[in-house]
């Protein structure tokens, strides 16, 4: 879809929920008709504007789960209920599934929020969702309690220190869940992942090995959000990830030269992942 008017709308923050020590959910007083997987640009006048995935758009409110990691997200975290922010969008592609499918979600960090929104939709479509979430420790888990309340959504928790659920990486737990589903005779139809690139790389490799479809949220440094500046273009395909992504099917992701290797900074310079 082409977007002609990209001027930000200024709205009030209706509510702020502290989810854990890093992440707050901002509830904004508007709906943009955003689909799970899509993102919006959030603007603070005279400071900056950055992309954030939609954690819920229920037709009345827009939810964003924002981790405080630097100057802009810290400034957002300093805002109070009733303060104003600018938003424009929605931009990008969405996660998609078919009725009655069995799905596996792999989430890390704030990636749990957009996948929670998608779980909401998938659950309503009669899908069975295996929601694998990981965090360094129990108190950094995000949106797990909310996800557990959804019908046919099973939350599988992994923590690095073993303070909750499986002890170790969620990617190891993911393999186990996929294999259990196979053993049950109802294998996973599609894997969905959003979060750190190393985690998504593991999900892509598993999907390829097991010949399972996958949809991956490829996040690159975004400026305009609508396919003009070129900063977010992915190598291999050369397409802007803000328009042809962030959600891309596995076949596309496998053609990317940068996936799992590097991303580009605000100058377009390659920054290699060191994992």
């Amino acid at each position: 879809m082409l977007i002609l008017n990209t001027l930000p709308q200024v709205v009030k923050i209706k509510k702020i929920v502290q989810e854990n020590e890093q992440v707050k959910t901002f509830v904004l007083d508007l709906s943009l008709g955003a689909k799970p997987g899509q993102f919006v640009m959030v603007w603070l006048p005279r400071l900056d504007e950055k992309p954030f995935s939609v954690a819920m758009d229920n037709g009345v409110e827009l939810h964003l789960a924002i981790a405080a990691v630097g100057p802009f997200s810290n400034a957002l975290h300093a805002l109070k209920e009733g303060d104003q922010v600018g938003v424009r969008g929605p931009f990008g592609t969405e996660f998609a599934c078919e009725k009655g499918q069995r799905l596996l979600f792999l989430a890390g960090g704030y990636g749990a929020a957009p996948l929670y929104y998608f779980a909401h939709k998938a659950s309503a479509m009669g899908c069975q969702v295996e929601f694998v979430v990981g965090a360094r420790r129990k108190d950094l888990l995000l949106y797990t309690e909310r996800a557990e309340q959804l019908k046919n959504v099973h939350v599988h928790v992994a923590t690095n220190d073993g303070s909750a659920g499986f002890e170790g990486f969620n990617t190891v737990l993911m393999e186990k869940v996929v294999e259990d589903a196979e053993a049950e005779g109802k294998p996973v139809d599609c894997i969905y992942t959003c979060g750190p690139e190393i985690m998504m790389l593991k999900a892509a490799q598993l999907a390829e090995r097991k010949n399972i479809a996958a949809q991956i949220s490829v996040e690159r440094y975004m400026k305009c959000g609508f396919g003009v500046c070129g900063n977010c273009c992915v190598d291999g395909l050369g397409v802007p990830s803000c328009v042809s992504g962030p959600v891309m099917p596995l076949e596309k992701v496998l053609q990317l030269k940068d996936f799992g290797k590097y991303h580009r900074d605000h100058l377009g310079k390659k920054q290699y992942f060191n994992f």
Partner: protein
């Protein structure tokens, strides 16, 4: 099917539609994709001789008829440019125009020398970006002396670096008193052609709820359909006076717009902002529309249309 190819300063283009500088021009693969989508050639984002930071976001905003941008020409410097141009050559055959910029005269010399070694097909000197005004920007775009000096220096630098025959075009600003006199002076200083025009203004958009300018830089260059009549007029004026090779740029969205630009005197037609209005596929769409128009109007060779709007003496 009409022959859509054109010769520009001795370089062959399969069709006259070229990606304008600054749009989808950060990486080789992105520019190659623009060619796969139908463009006859590409222009890099402006290249600096050193790392150069852009402005904070928002940097690009649009309304129905225009775009304002103050990206601030971020660039990672020559090492990245070298790598990307080498990669572009691996994956794409279409001509590559290296657009260069600097904060001072010496910068243009330095980047010209770097670029000469990268072997682009053409060099475009950006003397006209309205959103880096604090640097050389406006003072140079408006000065006959400075714009001809930079042209001469770049030509000399290219020759010194072993590329004396690399064609040079100078990209002009519309925000000047007399664009034809600037064009004349840079051509006399050795430019092989002209690109007209860069963005207009700068302009400003204010959000009324917060009473704040939206762009972080407050002001930004205006582009898109709103500026097309200006671009057509300037191309027309320059062609009438100089009959030189021109890259006509500004507000082209459709095949009809591109033909209009060629009739005004353009040999190549730059397309930037249209990506916002019609998506990444816009290049092929415009080329198809030009072809259809030629077929419908009995035009066999598109290049016959160059300067057609001018009276025959």
């Amino acid at each position: 099917m009409a022959d859509l190819s054109v010769e520009f300063c001795g370089v062959h283009f399969q069709n006259p539609i070229v990606l304008a500088s600054g749009v989808l021009g950060v990486t080789a693969d992105s520019m190659a994709q623009v060619v796969r989508n139908g463009a006859g050639g590409v222009t890099s984002k402006s290249l600096w001789p050193y790392e150069h930071k852009g402005h904070p976001n928002p940097t690009i905003i649009t309304s129905e008829h225009w775009m304002l941008n103050a990206v601030g020409i971020p660039d990672a410097g020559p090492e990245k440019a070298r790598e990307e141009l080498a990669r572009y050559r691996e994956v794409c055959d279409a001509p590559f125009i290296a657009n260069i910029v600097g904060g001072q005269m010496e910068d243009y010399v330095a980047i010209a020398k770097e670029v000469a070694l990268m072997k682009p097909d053409l060099v475009e000197i950006n003397i006209s970006c309205p959103n880096v005004e604090d640097e050389l920007g406006k003072p140079m775009a408006c000065s006959i002396a400075k714009s001809s000096e930079v042209t001469r220096l770049v030509k000399e630098a290219l020759a010194e670096a072993g590329a004396p025959h690399l064609p040079v075009v100078v990209k002009l600003s519309p925000n000047v008193e007399n664009i034809v006199s600037i064009a004349s002076s840079v051509l006399e200083a050795g430019a092989d052609g002209i690109t007209a025009i860069n963005t207009v203004g700068p302009g400003m958009a204010i959000n009324i709820e917060t009473a704040q300018p939206i762009l972080a830089n407050r002001v930004g260059g205006l582009s898109g359909p709103a500026i097309k009549p200006l671009a057509v007029k300037y191309v027309y004026d320059i062609y009438r006076a100089k009959k030189c090779p021109i890259i006509g740029t500004g507000g082209v969205l459709t095949g009809r717009d591109a033909i209009e630009m060629m009739m005004a005197g353009a040999t190549l037609v730059g397309v930037g902002t249209a990506v916002w209005a019609r998506g990444q596929e816009v290049f092929g769409l415009i080329v198809n529309e030009m072809n259809e128009w030629c077929d419908a109007n009995g035009v066999k060779k598109l290049s016959d249309l160059i300067g057609k709007a001018h009276p025959k003496n």
